[in-house]
C-alpha cells in the first residue's frame, strides 16, 4: 500500500478540463445491484411512513393513541397496505377483475408510460458513460416533438412511410439540438451542463412561439398554443389491439435498448465512448479524438431523447401537442439512468419501474386518496439513496464497499497537496 507515483507534471489542457464530476459519475455507474434494490426498498418504506402520516384515519386514531394504540397501528397498516396494493393493482395486475385480459391492462399501461422514459433514460445514460451530464433532455424532446409532430400533421404520405419519416425527423431534430452542445463543448470547452440547461429554455420558448404562430405549428382556428392532431398515418398503431394503450413504439424501445447495448459493448465507436468516459487522458494518448467522441456521443444521446419526444407526440398524446409535451420526462430520464446505473438493460428495468409508479400512482390516488406526490417523493428518495451508497450501507450494516479502491495517500482535512 505504499504511496504511488508522484503527481505528474502534466500541463496538457485535457487534464485541466476533466471535471471532478467524473468521479461522481463513476461511483454511480459502478455501484452494485444490491444497493439499488435496498435503495428502492428504503424509499418505499419512507413512502409508507408518509402515507401513514397523511392518512386521516391514522390521524384520528392517533388522537387516542395512549388509550387504544392498536387502533392507530391498524389504521397505519390499512393505509399503507391499501396504498401499495392500489399501486400494484394500478400498475401490474388488477386481481379484482374477472378475466385475465382486463386484469393485465395495468401492466400494458405501465409499459406505455415506460416507453418514453426508457429511451430518454438510454440517451442520458449513454452520455453518462461518455462522461457527460446531458441535462438537456427537455429541449431535445421538445425540438424532436416539434419536428416529428410537424411531419405528422402536415405531410400526406402513405401508411407506414409517414410514420417512419416522422420518427426519423424527430430523432434527427433531437440529435442536432444535442449536437450543438457537443460541438460547442469540443471546440470551445464550454461545459455541457450549462449549455444543455440553457438550450432547454431556448427550445421551450422557440416551440412555444411556433405553437402561438399560425402557419407554423399552431392548429388553424385555434387560440390556444396547440398543434393540430396527428394524421392517422403518422400515429404509432396499437400493439395489442384497440383495447390497450400500448403501441408499436414499445417495440422500437426494445430495439433501441438492444442497439445501445450493442453500441456500448460490441462496437468500436462504443469502445471509444467508454474509454473516453472512464479516462479521457488515456483515450487521448491512445490516439482517440476525444473532442469528436464528445460530438458523436451527444448526437446519439440527443437522438435517443428525440425518440422519447417522438413517443410522446405520436404515441402517448397524438391529439396535438403543446409546449408541455415533454411532461418532465427529460428530467425523469436522469433519474431513470441513475437508477439503471447507465447500463442499457438496467435503464430498461428502471424505466419500467418508473412507468409502474406513474400508472399506479394515479390508481392509488383515485382509490385510496393517497396524494400522487408520494410517488414522486419515493422516486426522488430512490435516487437520493443511490447517490449516497454509504448511507444505505450504514442503514443495512453492509461492509464498506470502498475497499477495492485503494487510496494511497489519505486526505487530511484542511490541507492540500502543494504543487
Amino acid at each position: 500500500m505504499s504511496g504511488g507515483t508522484p503527481a505528474p507534471a502534466t500541463t496538457t489542457e485535457q487534464t485541466a478540463d476533466q471535471p471532478r464530476a467524473n468521479a461522481i459519475l463513476k461511483e454511480i455507474v459502478n455501484g452494485n445491484v444490491l444497493i439499488t434494490v435496498l435503495a428502492v426498498l428504503l424509499a418505499l418504506l419512507i413512502g409508507g411512513v408518509l402515507i401513514a402520516l397523511t392518512n386521516e384515519d391514522v390521524q384520528t386514531a392517533a388522537g387516542y393513541f395512549f388509550s387504544r394504540p392498536q387502533d392507530t397501528l391498524l389504521a397505519v397498516w390499512n393505509a399503507v397496505s391499501g396504498a401499495y396494493v392500489a399501486l400494484f393493482q394500478g400498475s401490474i395486475y388488477n386481481f379484482r377483475r374477472d378475466d385475465f385480459l382486463t386484469a393485465i391492462r395495468p401492466l400494458t399501461d405501465t409499459l406505455t408510460y415506460a416507453a418514453p422514459l426508457i429511451v430518454a433514460g438510454l440517451g442520458v445514460g449513454l452520455a453518462f458513460r461518455v462522461g457527460m451530464f446531458n441535462i438537456g433532455g427537455r429541449g431535445q424532446m421538445l425540438i424532436a416533438a416539434a419536428a416529428a409532430g410537424w411531419v405528422g400533421f402536415s405531410f400526406h404520405l402513405p401508411w407506414g412511410i409517414h410514420l417512419i419519416v416522422a420518427v426519423i425527423a424527430g430523432i434527427v431534430g433531437g440529435a442536432l439540438w444535442a449536437g450543438i452542445v457537443g460541438l460547442l463543448k469540443a471546440r470551445t470547452g464550454a461545459h455541457e451542463v450549462i449549455l444543455t440547461i440553457m438550450l432547454n429554455y431556448v427550445a421551450f420558448y422557440l416551440v412555444a412561439y411556433m405553437l402561438r404562430t399560425p402557419g407554423l405549428l399552431q392548429a388553424p382556428d385555434q387560440v390556444n398554443p396547440k398543434s393540430p392532431p396527428m394524421l392517422e398515418t403518422a400515429i404509432f398503431p396499437p400493439l395489442l389491439g384497440p383495447a390497450y394503450k400500448l403501441h408499436v413504439g414499445f417495440i422500437i424501445v426494445i430495439l433501441a435498448t438492444v442497439f445501445v447495448w450493442w453500441l456500448l459493448n460490441r462496437s468500436s465507436l462504443g469502445f471509444r465512448f467508454r474509454a473516453v468516459g472512464e479516462n479521457p487522458n488515456a483515450a487521448r494518448v491512445a490516439g482517440m479524438d476525444v473532442k469528436n467522441i464528445y460530438v458523436y456521443a451527444m448526437l446519439v444521446s440527443g437522438g435517443l431523447l428525440g425518440l422519447a419526444g417522438v413517443m410522446q407526440v405520436l404515441g402517448t398524446v397524438p391529439t396535438g401537442f403543446s409546449s408541455g409535451i415533454d411532461a418532465g420526462i427529460g428530467f425523469d430520464a436522469i433519474t431513470v439512468a441513475l437508477l439503471g446505473r447507465s447500463k442499457p438493460w438496467g435503464i430498461f428495468a428502471a424505466g419500467v419501474l418508473f412507468g409502474a409508479f406513474k400508472a399506479g400512482g394515479y390508481a392509488m390516488q383515485a382509490s385510496q386518496g393517497v396524494p400522487v406526490d408520494v410517488v414522486t417523493i419515493v422516486q426522488s428518495l430512490i435516487v437520493l439513496f443511490i447517490a449516497a451508497p454509504p448511507l444505505v450501507r450504514a442503514i443495512f450494516f453492509l461492509p464498506d464497499g470502498s475497499r477495492r479502491r485503494r487510496r494511497t495517500t489519505p486526505i487530511v482535512t484542511k490541507e492540500v497537496e502543494a504543487k
Binding site: T5, P6, T10, T11, K414
Partner: protein, 504 residues
C-alpha cells in the same frame, strides 16, 4: 522519545496489509523501513499517524500505550510526518502553512502571524534551512517545500519524525542535503522513521534497517549489508540489479529531433530548443529531475502537445503536426509516464486495455464491430508472453499491481509494428521482479534494431540501460554523454552544471 509498535495488524477486507508488525525506534536513531511498493510501509505509518485504526496491536511512546483517533492525536503526542506528496497550501506563505491547523490568535480572533514567523525563523536558524517565512510556498523549489514540511512538524514539537518516500522528488544534491538534515535531527535526539525503497539511501543514512515484505517484517539488517543482500530480503530472492546486455550496434539515425520548443498553456517554454538523434538499435536515456521538460518532450513527439515549434522526423517521415493516431500509426510505441492516468483505463478489462490504441481498424475491429474472439485470443497470448499476473483477461486493469499494469501497457505497445519505442518512467512504482522484466524487454527491443528512448529520473535505471544519456535541466539538454559516464558527473548535470570534460 522511544517509539514502539507491537503486533500491529491492519486488514482491508481479505487483504492483510500489516501482519503483526513489531518495530522499535530508539531516540536519536534513523530507522529505515525498507520494502517494495505495496509491502505495507505506508499503511503502517498511517496507522501510526492515526489515519487508520489498527485491527490488532498497540502503539507505545516511551512505554505508554497510545490511542490515536486521528492525525491531531498523533501530532499532540509528538509524532510528525513528512508526506511524499506535500500537504501544503501553495498560495499561502511559509508561516501561514506552518501555523495551519493550530493557529494562534490574538485579541478578536486576529491571526498571530508574528508568532508563526518567529517560530519558522527559530527552527530554520537552528538547522540552517534559510527559509523565508513570508515566501509563498508555491514559488519555492521542491526541496525547500520539503523543508517547510519538516519545519511544520518540528513546530509542533515532534519527537518522532516519519519521512514517507521523501527523496522521490529531489535532485541527487537535494537528497544529500536532506540526509544531512536527517542526521542533524537525529543528533538532537529526534527519532526518525525513514520509508524508502531505494537501497543506496538506506545504506547511507540508516542506523538500523527493518525490511517489510507482503505486510510482514522479514528481517533486520545493518547498514553495512550489501545491496544485493537487501534486495534479496525485499523481494524474497536474489535479483540482478545490473541489466545483461551486449554492446549496442547502432544503425543509421532514425529519430531526428531538431530545435524543438514546447510552449505550455501559460506561455512558458517548457522545452527549449532541444535537438538530438536516436539511432536504430540504441537506447537513448533522457535523465533529469522530475519536471525539467522530459514529460513535455515525449508528449511533443507523440503529438500530445498543442504548441510545438521545430521538427521531429522518424526515418525521414515528419511527425510534427500529425495527430496522435497518425503518430501511433507511423510505428511509435509509447509507454506514458503516468500509466494509471494516461496509459490505462482502470475500469476496462485487461483485454480491452490491450486494444486501447487499436480501436479503429483490423485486427480487433471489423465493420464497426469489435472482434471479441480475436481479442480474447490475443489477450490470452499476451498474458502468457508478458507474464501478466491476474485472475483472467477480464479482470479490470485497475485491480492489478503497478508492475502488472505496466506489463499490460508494454504488451500493448510492443505488439505493434514498432519503428520507435518511447518509455517514460517505465519502472516507476513497480516491484523489482517486474523491473527486471521491463528492462529485459527494452534491451530486446533495442537488439531488434528499433530505436528506444527511455526517460527516467532514477540514475540506477539510466546507467543500467543507456547506450547514450541526454541530461535535461529546465527544458534544455545540458549535454549528451556516453552510457558509462560516472554518476557524480550525471548528478552535476542534472543540477544544470556542465562539467568541463563534457562537450556541449
Amino acid at each position: 522519545m522511544q517509539l514502539e509498535l507491537r503486533g500491529i495488524t491492519k486488514r482491508f477486507g481479505a487483504l492483510t496489509a500489516n501482519d503483526h508488525i513489531d518495530l522499535v525506534v530508539a531516540p536519536g536513531e534513523i530507522h529505515c523501513l525498507l520494502g517494495e511498493n505495496g509491502a505495507g510501509k505506508s499503511t503502517l505509518m498511517n496507522v501510526l499517524y492515526g489515519l487508520y485504526q489498527a485491527d490488532e496491536g498497540e502503539i507505545l511512546l516511551d512505554g505508554a500505550v497510545q490511542h490515536f483517533d486521528g492525525p491531531g492525536d498523533a501530532m499532540r503526542s509528538g509524532i510528525g510526518m513528512v508526506h511524499q506528496h506535500f500537504m501544503l497550501i501553495p498560495v499561502f506563505t511559509v508561516a501561514e502553512n506552518v501555523m495551519l491547523g493550530h493557529e494562534q490568535t490574538s485579541f478578536g480572533g486576529r491571526l498571530d502571524l508574528d508568532a508563526a514567523r518567529k517560530r519558522v525563523r527559530e527552527i530554520s536558524d537552528r538547522f540552517g534551512f534559510s527559509v523565508d517565512p513570508d515566501a509563498i510556498v508555491g514559488d519555492l523549489p521542491v526541496g525547500v517545500q520539503q523543508r517547510v514540511e519538516i519545519i511544520k512538524a518540528l513546530s509542533r514539537d515532534a519527537r518522532v519524525l516519519v519521512f514517507d518516500e521523501p527523496t522521490a522528488v529531489l535532485t541527487p544534491q537535494e537528497t544529500d542535503e536532506l540526509m544531512a538534515i536527517m542526521r542533524q535531527l537525529r543528533d538532537e535526539g529526534t527519532s526518525i522513521v525513514f520509508i524508502t525503497h531505494k537501497l543506496r539511501e538506506v545504506r547511507e543514512v540508516a542506523d538500523r534497517i527493518t525490511v517489510i515484505r507482503l505486510g510482514k517484517v522479514v528481517g533486520e539488517a545493518a547498514p553495512t549489508a550489501s545491496n544485493s543482500d537487501l534486495a534479496a530480503l525485499m523481494v524474497g530472492r536474489a535479483v540482478e540489479l545490473v541489466v545483461q546486455k551486449q554492446q549496442a550496434r547502432p544503425g543509421p539515425a532514425s529519430l531526428v529531433v531538431e530545435n524543438l520548443d514546447v510552449i505550455d498553456p501559460n506561455g512558458l517554454k517548457v522545452v527549449n530548443d532541444v535537438s538530438f538523434t536516436v539511432h536504430e538499435g540504441e537506447i537513448l536515456a533522457i535523465a533529469g529531475v522530475q519536471g525539467n521538460g522530459q514529460t513535455e518532450l515525449t508528449e511533443a513527439i507523440m503529438g500530445l502537445q498543442p504548441r510545438v515549434n521545430g521538427r521531429v522526423s522518424l526515418g525521414g517521415q515528419v511527425l510534427t503536426g500529425l495527430s496522435v493516431r497518425r503518430v501511433l500509426d507511423a510505428g511509435v510505441g509509447f509507454v506514458p509516464e503516468d500509466r494509471t492516468e494516461d496509459g490505462l483505463v482502470a475500469e476496462m478489462t485487461i483485454a480491452e486495455n490491450l486494444m486501447l490504441d487499436r480501436s479503429h481498424s483490423e485486427p480487433f475491429v471489423a465493420r464497426g464491430s469489435l472482434r471479441l474472439e480475436h481479442l480474447d485470443g490475443f489477450a490470452e497470448e499476451k498474458k502468457k508472453e508478458f507474464d501478466i499476473r491476474a485472475q483472467s483477461i477480464s479482470t479490470p486493469a485497475g485491480r492489478l499491481s503497478g508492475g502488472n499494469q505496466q506489463k499490460v501497457v508494454l504488451a500493448r505497445e510492443m505488439s505493434r509494428d514498432l519503428r520507435l519505442l518511447i518509455a517514460a518512467q517505465p519502472t516507476r512504482g513497480i516491484d523489482v521482479g517486474s523491473i527486471e522484466f521491463v528492462h529485459k524487454r527494452m534491451v530486446e527491443t533495442r537488439d531488434a534494431g528499433i530505436p528506444v528512448i527511455v526517460v527516467s529520473t532514477e540514475l540506477d535505471e539510466v546507467v543500467a540501460l543507456a547506450d547514450r544519456i541526454a541530461v535535461m535541466y529546465r527544458g534544455s539538454i545540458v549535454g549528451i554523454v556516453p552510457g558509462d559516464t560516472p554518476r557524480d558527473v550525471l548528478g552535476l548535470m542534472m543540477a544544470g552544471e556542465r562539467p568541463s570534460e563534457v562537450a556541449a
